[in-house]
Amino acid sequence: MAVQHKKPAPAATVRNNYFHSSPPIDQVGVEERASRFTKRSIKKESKKNGLLLVLNMIDLTTLEGKDTDGKVKQLCYKAMHPHDAYTTLTGEELPTVAAICVYPSMVKVAKKALGDSGIKVASVATAFPSGQAPADIKIRDTKYAVNEGADEVDMVISRGKFHAGEYNFVFDEIAAIKEACGDARLKVILETGELGTLDKVRRASDIAMEAGADFIKTSTGKIQPAATMPVTLVMLEAIRDFYYKTGKMIGMKPAGGISKSKLALHYLVMVKEVLGEDWLNNEWFRFGASSLANDVLMQLVKGKTGLYQAANYFSAD
């Protein structure tokens, strides 16, 4: 074993064996169960309340090479005021989104723009999205984001090492980043689209949670397929088992590919029926998405007026 990390503690070896015993996952069964959630009929009040909840769970995201202060500021305004016309129309306040998700270099801008709105700033780190950088750079990347004011850090695991069977490496890396996070909450991105099987999704989830993740997250949005319902179901079940084993709650964030309200509601059904009440809030469940918010807003307005407004009525940020 190539020892690149500092202390391969004996405890980690024990854990390594543990990860080999992550329960097997049957893909056919998972797909069947996942499709069952989509059969729930969400109408009327439950649809409206579900959509409000979804809006409040969104990590509004911009992760582009061409991101600028201006772009991030506009996105922050959208986060705080998703659609003021809704209040004019209905007299009801809309919730804000949960967080803004940006690169470390944009954290300060976002933090300032959001002020005391209560909206969190999440920053991707650890050489996102590939994760192909030396350990010390990843730690510096993380510390930089936290020092700039990030409330949450979204890290990527080393999928190459994971595929090579170096689970100790993956474990230790997550543990080190967790330490570098300080008080910031750590979301661990498994990039499930690169893992290949649901068995590996389960194993990666177990490793991340044991190593100190506060959240586990499907994907970066840079790799296809990103979030899918079967993958999310496997991760939710891993969270449930971990909760029963340790008493510790872990959050879940599917990201990438969830752009329609209906699909988001299917995810909400899944959270409700797998983990229940305690996870049905943005403290423990998030959607990583950029275009979902406008579809949710369009559906909310439609719920009031009975008519779909054209996309141009909703701000494109």
Binding site: A11, P23, P24, I25, D26, V28, G29, V30, E32, R33, K39, R40, S41, I42, K43, K44, E45, S46, K47, N49, G50, L53, E237, R240, Y243, Y244, K245, T246, G247, K248, L268, K272, E273, L275, G276, E277, D278, L280
Partner: protein, 499 residues
């Protein structure tokens, strides 16, 4: 390290998931107005609606509300005789002479009209029988029409089903179906019979006669020659008249083992052929190397599908002892997310028990289970005040000698037993007078083949349960009956093979 572990363990004793969430589903009922139910149904004999000579009618009710839906004719001996004569006449004069490819066209037409009327059929099936609309819409009706499609395809290809043999139809088939899958069972019985050139007298179950009469309307619309399919309703006496009728060549029965035995005695010494599909007490076996969450889901669907009114329901769960605690916890959690209630609501998972009599039987077994010392757990869900409803229930600490582990309950009640070794579980699984179905859950392929080879059951599912397809034969070992329905095998009970 040791201290933190201890702390965590202590904490985990109190952890519990709360499925009674603040975000709830609003009622999403399917509209009753999409279905037409007549006030009264007469017997469907010789292509016509005929008043019963018995002059009797009986009510059929909605088990979810106990309200009357309609009344249907009760066929007496004279009515049965009339139906058999009509079938005989159609067989001799029309159906057996018709080129097989022409017969097939009628059957394809029936299948297509069923698809067109799928929504209405699903609503009526749920109203009359109590099953959730999700199941009648997504399973019962499409599978029923698929059976007609499948056997229509065989009608003119029998020489490929039985190479180097000549086939001939048997004649008139008397078919008696149960109340758990009314339309689907009618399809299972009628489709292979008429595809092979037989004619049919079919009796629906006493509590669920409506979709069979809807099928009669479809058959009329399809212009099937009069008398090829005759549909009547009634209870045990009507069934007895059919079985004992001297001009019947073939009896196909799905129902209880007790009645199956009566039928066998009644036809002893006659030339009547018979297939019986009877009760079951299926073993569903989870090994420690199984994909546990998927196995738990399979167990839930295996026992709670159609309120457990399924002859092949996985009602005996065998869990390897090393994972028993985890599996039972997961089962209990899953029980909490099942929605019990209005069968017409699209979100309902478990509908109404089919009849008061069946609900009483289920309650009887639940109290037997308690008396036997097994530990009962039921979902905390609310159930409607009116109608026949039963919370999904499971018993743990069940012994092989308990009646709840041996006898068919035919309701949403699961008995959980444990085992240690492969040999032990095979012995226990086979230790039953029944042998209709079984399930095996393991990630290990070789274990699946070893288990399925040694299991005495007509159907063995591996890492899944309750999967049905027209192409797949279905039937029992031992007191679960004999003969196969579905697939190529399902043709054989309706043909005489000549060299």
């Amino acid at each position: 390290m040791a201290i933190t572990k201890k702390k965590a363990a202590k904490k985990s004793n109190t952890v519990k998931l709360k499925f009674d969430t603040s975000w709830t589903y609003d009622p999403a009922p399917e509209s009753k107005s999409a279905a037409t139910i007549a006030k009264q149904y007469d017997l469907f004999i010789n292509g016509e609606w005929q008043k019963p000579q018995s002059k009797k009618y009986f009510d059929t009710i909605n088990p979810a509300t106990e309200e009357k839906l309609s009344e249907v004719a009760e066929a007496g001996e004279a009515d049965v005789d009339k139906a058999v004569k009509a079938a005989r006449n159609a067989h001799e004069k029309v159906w057996k002479k018709m080129p097989a490819k022409e017969r097939a066209k009628y059957i394809f037409r029936i299948a297509r009209i069923m698809q067109e009327k799928a929504r209405e059929l699903a609503i009526i099936e749920s109203l009359d029988g109590g099953k959730p609309i999700r199941e009648s819409r997504d399973f019962d009706i499409p599978t029923a029409s698929n059976h007609f499609f499948y056997y229509a395809g065989w009608a003119d290809k029998l020489e490929y089903a039985f190479p180097n043999r000549q086939t001939a139809p048997l004649g008139v088939a008397a078919q008696i179906i149960p109340w758990n899958f009314p339309l689907l069972m009618a399809a299972w019985k009628i489709a292979p019979a008429i595809a092979t050139g037989n004619t049919v007298v079919l009796k629906s179950a006493e509590t669920t006669p409506l979709t069979a009469y809807k099928l009669a309307e479809i058959i009329r619309e399809a212009d099937l020659p009069p008398g090829v399919v005759n549909i009547i309703s009634g209870a045990g006496a009507t069934g007895a008249a059919m079985v004992n009728h001297p001009d019947v060549n073939k009896i196909a029965f799905t129902g209880s083992t007790d009645v199956g035995k009566i039928i066998q005695r009644a036809i002893a010494g006659t030339n009547k052929k018979v297939t019986l599909e009877l009760g079951g007490k299926a073993a569903n076996i989870i090994f420690e190397d199984a994909p546990i969450d998927q196995a738990v889901e399979g167990v839930i669907n295996g026992i709670f599908f159609n309120q457990g009114h399924v002859c092949c329901a996985g009602s005996r769960l065998y869990v390897q002892e090393s994972i028993a605690k985890i599996v039972i916890r997961k089962l209990k959690d899953r029980l909490e997310s099942l929605i019990v209630g209005d069968p017409l609501d699209k979100n309902t998972d478990i509908g109404a028990i089919n009849s008061k009599a069946q609900l009483d039987t289920i309650h009887k077994y639940i109290s037997i289970g308690k008396k036997e010392g097994a530990e009962m757990y039921e979902s905390s869900c609310r159930i409607p005040g009116k109608g026949f409803f039963c919370r999904p229930t499971l018993f743990t600490n069940v012994a092989q000698s308990n009646r709840i582990a041996q006898e068919e309950i035919f309701g949403p009640v699961l008995s959980v037993l444990t085992f240690r070794t492969d040999d032990e579980v095979i012995e226990k699984a086979n230790n039953s007078p029944y042998g209709l179905s079984a399930g095996v859950w393991t990630d290990k392929g070789s274990k699946i083949f070893n288990m399925t080879k040694r299991m005495r059951a007509g159907v063995v599912w591996a890492n899944t349960f309750n999967k049905f397809d027209p192409t797949s034969p279905f039937g029992g070992y031992k007191e679960s009956g004999f003969g196969r329905e579905g697939g190529l095998h399902g043709l054989l009970p309706y043909v005489e093979l000549r060299s």
